[in-house]
Subunit: 580 residues, 2 copies
């Protein structure tokens, strides 16, 4: 993003700064939070076009003068790592939800859509995020497909990365989750790092629990950050070893409280805030980066430092010139807040334009329509019989859910059998689980059993299932499971609750089977209805769709299910449902 488009533009900006040409907007009597000097002081700020022209008491007029009567002026918040897909919203609707919270830039990792559509999915995200009053930068998903034990819809290969690195808004390579691949020196993985570095772009890490020589080896490859620290010791070791620490506080993983004590005056400029995943209802009700800033201040961090960690520190890591601070020539991404404790957002300026005023969106945000990312559900015709699990007179493995965690436990049980068929055992909460491959018409269906959902009838299904996003369905009977999968196929992806031979509730997610075209409010409304319907079936889980979405993720221990079968994650191999 060039700070100025042409010489005329620059020379005019200079004249505005000198006071020779009238600026567009004067923000008068602000209490400026200066993220360079760490000071807060009263001054005036002059805007012209998308820029900050000057800061100082000398600036006293403009076409529009807004007297802010001592309210605080901060740089717009930046989220250093987020998966937009987790919001279930397309980029424009995502923007509408985060702008009122003061987010003006995000660095997104389009990992989910890449698993469905490969490079085409990332290109959609790029196009769908043009011309928004939210700057969306991207990192290229580094591990697509995630493993060989599942069928993904897309692949991101070296040649795709080479293509994508040319894009201005692509800042580098996203979280290298495949840390064993780095440590074991898999050429394919190292090559991805190499070409990113050659393009002078950034390589993000993802190395939960990595320590000692393995951590040193991972970092030696040129990996510059981590957002997976869960303990103070882990963050301290990674900081010392040169990594920038992204302190994550999202809908699922919440590390702020644990990690905040690590931050001190000597290292704070190497730490910043990220959300990683935010569910739509959390985005609407709780907030985004403003929520993290508020919580950090409540936990004892100084407000200025919290703001630095939500703005300048992030911009510096990603080498985003002209972003993350309030200074001449910088992009006028600005927030007005009433106080530095609740950080309630009074106004948001994006690129010099008032986009939020007292919670109200002041600009029209265009919706981007792209047919090529719709209709991504391609399954062979299914029938209830596809969900039959034959009894072999053997014990079977069962995936046991641990509430609020994405790890699972492996159980061995004697299954309930009827007419030579293993069936759901609602009394012991053992339900049938299936993963239906939905990208390439392979007809692959992985079958298994799961404990912990608690539903007593019907079925629940989703096309959001990390990382390959095949259809995941849990159910009491074959017919309900069949019906649920059929409905997802009809919707082109989404969430569904089925019972008594009918669709009780659904949320279509037609964009890659991951995102809605509807507004955040609409999506949240439908989600509520879905959760209510799931509870009606007896579900004990806060959000069964989130639980479902992690049951197909074969990199998280202990037992998972993919379209290729049951995966023993500790052994990192496909195993039989039946015990010998």
């Amino acid at each position: 993003m060039a700070l100025f488009k042409n010489l005329e533009n620059l020379s005019e900006l200079i004249k505005v700064a000198k006071g020779e040409i009238k600026g567009d907007i004067l923000l008068k009597n602000v209490n400026l939070v200066n993220v360079f000097s760490g000071e807060i002081y009263k001054t005036n700020v002059l805007l012209w076009k998308e820029f900050i022209a000057g800061v100082g008491d000398e600036y006293n007029e403009a076409h529009q003068v807004i007297d802010l009567e001592g309210k605080y002026l901060l740089p717009g918040f930046i989220d250093g790592h987020i998966h937009i897909e987790s919001s279930l919203l397309c980029p424009s609707e995502f923007a509408k939800l985060v702008l009122p919270h003061g987010t003006t830039s995000i660095i997104a990792d389009p990992h989910e859509i890449a698993n469905v559509l490969g490079e085409k999915g990332i290109e959609y995200m790029l196009r769908a995020s043009e011309n928004l009053p939210l700057d969306i930068y991207f990192m290229i998903p580094s591990c697509v497909p995630a493993t060989h034990m599942e069928t993904a819809g897309g692949e991101i290969e070296i040649r795709n990365i080479e293509n994508l690195l040319k894009e201005e808004r692509i800042l580098g390579l996203a979280e290298i989750m495949n840390f064993p691949g780095v440590i074991f020196g898999i050429p394919e993985v190292l090559k991805k790092i190499k070409i990113t570095k050659e393009n002078k772009k950034i390589v993000d890490g993802h190395s939960p629990g990595l320590s000692g020589q393995n951590l040193q080896a991972y970092i030696s490859a040129g990996i510059e950050s981590d957002h997976e620290c869960t303990t103070r010791e882990e963050a301290e070791e990674k900081l010392r070893s040169g990594m920038r620490i992204m302190i994550r506080e999202g809908s699922a993983a919440k590390n702020l409280e644990e990690l905040l004590p690590v931050v001190n005056e000597k290292n704070y400029h190497r730490c910043f805030f990220v959300s990683d995943d935010k569910h739509p209802e959390d985005l609407l009700h709780q907030g985004h980066i403003n929520y993290i800033v508020r919580k950090a201040v409540k936990l004892g961090l100084s407000p200025v430092r919290a703001i630095q960690m939500a703005t300048l520190n992030t911009a510096q890591y990603f080498n985003l010139k002209g972003k993350g601070a309030i200074a001449p020539g910088y992009i006028a991404d600005l927030l007005i807040v009433e106080d530095l404790s609740d950080f309630n957002i009074n106004k948001v300026f994006k690129s010099g334009k008032l986009v939020i005023n007292e919670g109200k969106l002041m600009v029209n945000i265009p919706h981007y329509e792209d047919l090529s990312v719709l209709n991504t559900v391609h399954i062979k015709s299914v029938s209830p019989d596809n969900f039959i699990i034959k009894d072999k007179g053997k014990k079977v493995k069962v995936i046991e859910i641990i509430p609020n965690q994405i790890v699972t436990r492996k159980l061995i049980i004697e299954p309930k059998v009827e007419k030579g068929e293993i069936i759901s055992d609602t009394e012991n909460d053992i339900l049938k689980l299936a993963i239906v491959e939905r990208h390439k018409n392979t007809g692959n269906i992985g079958l298994g059993l799961v404990k912990g959902f608690g539903i007593k009838k019907g079925a629940i299904a989703s096309s959001v299932a990390h990382d390959s996003h095949n259809i995941v369905v849990v159910g009491v009977d074959n017919y309900s499971m069949y019906l649920a999968v059929e409905e997802i196929s009809k919707m082109g992806g989404g969430f569904v609750v089925v019972a008594d031979g009918e669709i009780k509730a659904s949320l279509p997610l037609p964009i890659a089977g991951l995102m809605s075209n509807e507004s955040g409010e609409k999506v949240i409304e439908k989600l509520k209805k879905l959760l209510k319907s799931a509870m009606d079936l007896g579900s004990q889980i806060e959000n069964p769709f989130i639980t479902l979405s992690f049951l197909a993720l074969p990199v998280i221990p202990q037992l998972k299910l993919t379209d290729k079968g049951l995966v023993d994650v500790d052994k990192f191999e496909i195993v039989s449902l039946y015990e010998d």
Copy 2:
């Protein structure tokens, strides 16, 4: 500078970090100064080839183990802004002088040689600094020639900048001294900034005393740093406005003591040390960046912070990945020091090689020979008559030197006249001064008078005269002046002292008339003899060659002399020697 050359290299580095392959050198029992976390702790550091492979107690063997028994290990020092030419040494000899002081990287501004040879001069500096155990990066001189009121040998135009920006070791555009050019929006100046920004490179500032709206305007153009702050208030204003502050402590300008109180825990990561100009004797006896670090600590700065400002902060501003810290994958530029007060350097490692051991250079540094930068003195044949200043029966303007300053005062006096000729008046210390154009055979000779040198006979001359580096000569009589200029011409540039019809002492500076091919020690020895000879003529000035070198600089008030004539700097125009 790619951190690794190829995949084999990277994959081997990872294996060394994991402890699977033996590293080259283990630095055992060091007290590591961690510039990321601000901590100091005991550990071991493993080197492999030019890299740091890993840091940690787990590392216990290598082909060579050096037990450092608790000595301190720091990253190599970086000078963020220096003109190598001021040392009078070519890059390889400069390297020999600074390495023992722990400097392992510099960012040089080849402004002087560019004024003599244009792009060719910069290309020489690039080639002459290849394969040295000192990483020399360059910024492209932004203001060559400095003004239209003098004749320079070279020009740096837009097309030269475009060429040079392609070079890996060229990091951006050097100090934009022409701040009026920026503020008045001169298209040529803005264009230089624009192409540098488009190449994602850095633009350094130079804006002494600039404040308020003019400063805001200067910064709005995208200028990111300043090394010209002389007061606390100036540095604070510039910091707040988003500039990085280079705190300068060189041979001429010394700002550390004044500026250090500005540095605090909130802003220190935006400040770093530079020397700007260092004379060879200061480099040898006083030190370089280590001298600034030592002095800063004596003035009360914490040693870790001082080290951060001499390493990581500089590397981050210039986006030098893998430099300025001790971490896996980083270039092994390391210093061993005995304590954190005197910072006496025990050992220096450059790219994993021991280059300095107890003050002794351990590697052979090749000398780079390039005939194309020699023989740059091209003058029309001169005779003593060329130095005649005719009397017009009018008062004349005299340049008055202010000791230890580069500004001068304008005096108006009744000249001493003999046979219709204005002559030197040693009694009142009014001497004749001439600038002889030496690049293009124009025959231009600017004539004037100067007060303050104190010499009673002979002449002193130099081909180092900022910014155009024509020959500057001060003398008592025409013949001595002629002889001095002739000798400089014969040497292809240099310093000379003439008296009694003979050469009393000289220092040839054959490289562009600015730099010697000899060692620092030799140059210092010859300089000493020159200064002694100048004193023998009656010189009152500590170093008359430095004073001489600023008398032709028409951007520094009040009265200067160029080959085109006397310049009234306040009026920014050529004026007559004679008063009306």
